[in-house]
């Protein structure tokens, strides 16, 4: 396929947390607000005068100092973020809006709070409580948390306009971005997709790590390009897969899968777009903040939700995605030492095969994986097994 015009630019933007667009926005006098988890609604951090940055630690190697603080028995995502913070890589942040949603990222953010790591006198870190259930009174609980621990400190400490009107403006911009990403992502549903998983992951990631208004023009142009992009005459892949699992902000992991012969057509993982790029709907009589709270609880498919129906629904959601995106199999990945996904991966691996007949490749990974020979072998074997299965089905027919 013809190269996308801005792809190299997107890739370059992802080489630093404090990238070119972040620097530009800071120079314009805007506030950089960091976060790590989907449960911290990015739309609230994109209020006028601010922009959200979902923290990544690109080009990480060995997080030595962070390992002293967090041992080598915690996930490399949390440790790499702390290492980057200790190196001064997040000194551009004006605040960290934190969630106590998984243990290690919570501990990472607590280090920001207590160790005075960020060299910015204005910097503060505030936490919210996120319910482990959806429905009933949880929306109000969550809304109240967002109001008191996100909007109130932003207003009081940084002077941000957090009025309903400002929120609606942010939501409108957010929805435009979601529409664009959804449209771009839809090209993955085609019989012969005109975008690769690697390309899509770059695009999705820049939307999380750059000021929205500055990245939007590039996305619009990319969407127009994709409308006329022709697929390769001979596909470069041997099967299509859905990538599900825990935190993954490493586009080279997706590339590793694709280099092994599987096209990644859907991304259901933290930092992915499914879910995450659905438009926020403000219902009649609802405040903008209430709509945000409802939206983020309803759309999340995080394994920390404990309602019995929700635990079961998550498996169906994956199977539906696999069908919608015409995936031949599912790769369920789990960041080493992530307890939620340790269990969820096991259950997904059993249920998707047993109840939905989907082939599953179940793996553990580190934060940086691009050159992992072991994973490459696993993916190649998985691709071969899917091919054999297809051949057997053709034989039976």
């Amino acid at each position: 396929m013809k190269d996308l015009k801005h792809l190299i630019y997107f890739e370059n933007l992802l080489q630093e947390a404090n990238n070119e667009l972040v620097v530009r926005a800071k120079e314009e006098g805007r506030l950089a607000l960091g976060y790590t988890c989907y449960f911290m609604p990015e739309v609230l951090l994109d209020l006028p005068g601010c922009f959200s940055v979902r923290l990544r630690a690109p080009r990480s190697t060995s997080p030595d100092i962070a390992t002293y603080y967090m041992t080598n028995r915690t996930c490399t995502y949390g440790r790499s973020l702390l290492e980057r913070a200790l190196e001064g890589g997040y000194n551009f942040l004006d605040a960290e809006l934190a969630t106590e949603t998984c243990t290690v990222t919570c501990r990472f953010q607590e280090h920001l709070q207590m160790m005075n790591i960020i060299s910015n006198p204005k910097f503060f870190c505030t936490f919210i409580d996120v319910p482990h259930k959806k429905g009933g009174t949880t929306y109000e609980h969550y809304r109240l948390q967002l109001e008191k621990h996100v909007l109130a400190p932003l207003h009081e400490k940084l002077g941000v306009d957090v009025s309903d009107g400002a929120l609606r403006t942010a939501i409108a911009q957010h929805n435009e971005l979601c529409r664009l990403i959804t449209q771009i992502g839809a090209f993955r549903k085609l019989d012969r997709p005109t975008i690769t998983g690697f390309e899509f992951s770059l695009i999705q990631l820049v939307t999380l790590c750059c000021p929205k208004d500055l990245i939007l023009p590039y996305l619009r142009e990319t969407l127009e390009e994709l409308r006329t992009r022709e697929p390769d005459l001979k596909p470069q892949y041997r099967c299509k897969v859905l990538l599900a699992g825990s935190e993954n902000d490493d586009p080279y992991f997706t590339k590793l899968i694709e280099d092994s012969g599987a096209l990644v057509v859907a991304d259901r993982h933290c930092y992915g777009s499914l879910p995450g790029r659905e438009e926020i709907e403000i219902r009649e009589g609802e405040t903008a903040l209430a709509a945000v709270a409802r939206h983020y609880l309803d759309t999340s498919m995080c394994p920390r939700f404990m309602n019995q129906d929700v635990m079961r629904e998550r498996k169906g959601y994956l199977a539906d995605l696999a069908k919608e995106y015409k995936a031949d199999g599912v790769i369920v990945e789990q960041m080493k030492f992530c307890e939620y996904w340790s269990y969820e991966r096991v259950v997904d691996t059993i249920i998707l095969q047993r109840d939905f007949g989907l082939p599953v490749c179940s793996i553990e990974k580190e934060y940086v994986n691009g050159t992992s020979g072991q994973l490459r072998t696993r993916f190649q074997a998985f691709v071969e097994s899917i091919e054999i299965k297809k051949l057997q089905e053709v034989g039976k027919a």
């Binding site: 002293y68 603080y69 967090m70 041992t71 028995r73 915690t74 996930c75 949390g78 106590e100 949603t101 998984c102 243990t103 290690v104 919570c106 501990r107 990472f108 607590e110 280090h111 709070q113 207590m114 160790m115 936490f127 919210i128 409580d129 996120v130 319910p131 482990h132 259930k133 009933g136 009174t137 949880t138 609980h141 109240l144 948390q145 008191k148 394994p303 920390r304 404990m306 309602n307 019995q308 635990m311 079961r312 789990q334 080493k336 030492f337 307890e339 939620y340 340790s342 269990y343 969820e344 991966r345 096991v346 259950v347 691996t349 059993i350 249920i351 179940s362 553990e364």
Partner: protein, 536 residues
Amino acid sequence: MRKLPIKIPESLKKKAKDFWYGKPHGERRLGELYEDKTGLYKHREWRGVADTNYAFLVWLRAVGVAGKLALSVPVPVVRALLRYRWMSTYLTGIAWIDRGNEGLHGEALRASMEHYYAMFYDSVRQLISQFRADSHLRLGVKNLFWYKTLDHDETIPGHLFYGFPEAYDDILAQLTTCFLNPHVCRPTITHYIDAVESIGLPADPCPLCAAEAGLCVLDDYPDFSPVFLTTNQACDGSVGTSIIQDMYWNKPLYAMPQPMRFDDPDVQQFCIDEIRGAWKFIEEQTGMKFDMNAFKKKMAAYNQLTRFEREKWDVAANTPYYPVSGTAQALYRIFYSEVGERKIWHRTDRRVKALMDRCIEKQLRPFPMTRHRALVWSCAPLYYSYFPTWLYNCWGIQVVMNMDSLMSDKVVRLENEDEMMEDLAQLFEWGPMRRMAVGGQQHIFEIWENYEKFHCDMVIMFDQVACKSMDGIHGVFEDEFRRRGIHAIWVPHELMDHRTVERAEMRRAVNDYMATVMQEEPLDPSLVEIDDSMSW
């Protein structure tokens, strides 16, 4: 009259004295009591006439309680022994009491053994209740007990079920089937960890949660209730276990997660709603009605236990007369606070109070060889829960208090229902481990305040290698110990799985520190190096 020239040799006098009172601490050589490798006792410990008789009496009472189990549900017990692998644990149950109280004398022996006996007694009660209702032991037939028994996660305290007097019993699903196993007989639980790892779970999540999930995988939980109530306590792994439980049990499940940021007044309503939601769920699923008066009555009784617990802490903190060993304190506290109100706790507390008052009144030091007063922080090794007993016997390190004792100490106000619900929520939120481990780093650093409060000069810092919450804050502890000049001994372990860190390795961490940093000699050199690698 002339006196007969009979002179009793000093050695004989000494032998007579040792026989009557037991040998003094430095001469006991407790390590020589064990058979090599298995750690089995060659014979019972001689503690002097009175103390040996007392210990033997408790042993007899425990045998009687075990006999009660066998006689009250004889057929189900035999079937359970054949059906559930974990049941073999309890064949060694009485030895657990002996090990936990090794080397103790006088009031320390009595107070600590009372705690152990109470736990043993209540474990038997729970086993009887489970087996009476267990459909697995009745060829799948669900009897009346099955419909009237409530099954809940061991981290949901029994308080929440006081309002269902119609219920035959409420049982903590994992307490006797999983949690107690490594305390009593450590090899039985590792099989379940292997079972869940065999379906793909990595080896790094919390082994307690993994073992709980392993029991599901092997279908080794008794089936004694139409419902199950679960929670997110104490960590992410507990949430994961609930996913496995739902997949394998496939019965109505109510999750009642607690808020993480529990200091925040705004989160209390959520917790209250969850408690009320759980009551409603039980009513809908079982047809039993919630009775507020019954609830308040039992809660009032439970409040007495909490008040006495605080009194114990006060004596432990401010005097050398606290008669409860570090081992008994830690276990009993977590046990009764999770099980909830039962008569046995009151009986035990009355006896312990009498012993404690006697120690204070007569200024008796129950642990006379104390060289260091230690605070234990982080989660303790379940397969070596009597580690504090070893610390005292070998090195004179008296564990005054431990982290998990310092939780759930809320006295619930009962006059006003709103206040009551607020307090109940907080009591629930302050559960074991999560009281210190979640909700902000300020909780885990309550160590400094408690270190001062309990007048300690040493910290035994348990390093549970699979605990992400504690691992995630390890370095700050190191920094602070150095900055504050605190003697802290890091003792690694893996909670349930002794294969990762053996007991000998834990002892070695202490031996090395005491010999090199503290430059002290052991009180009982026979305990420094023991080979108990094949022990229970």
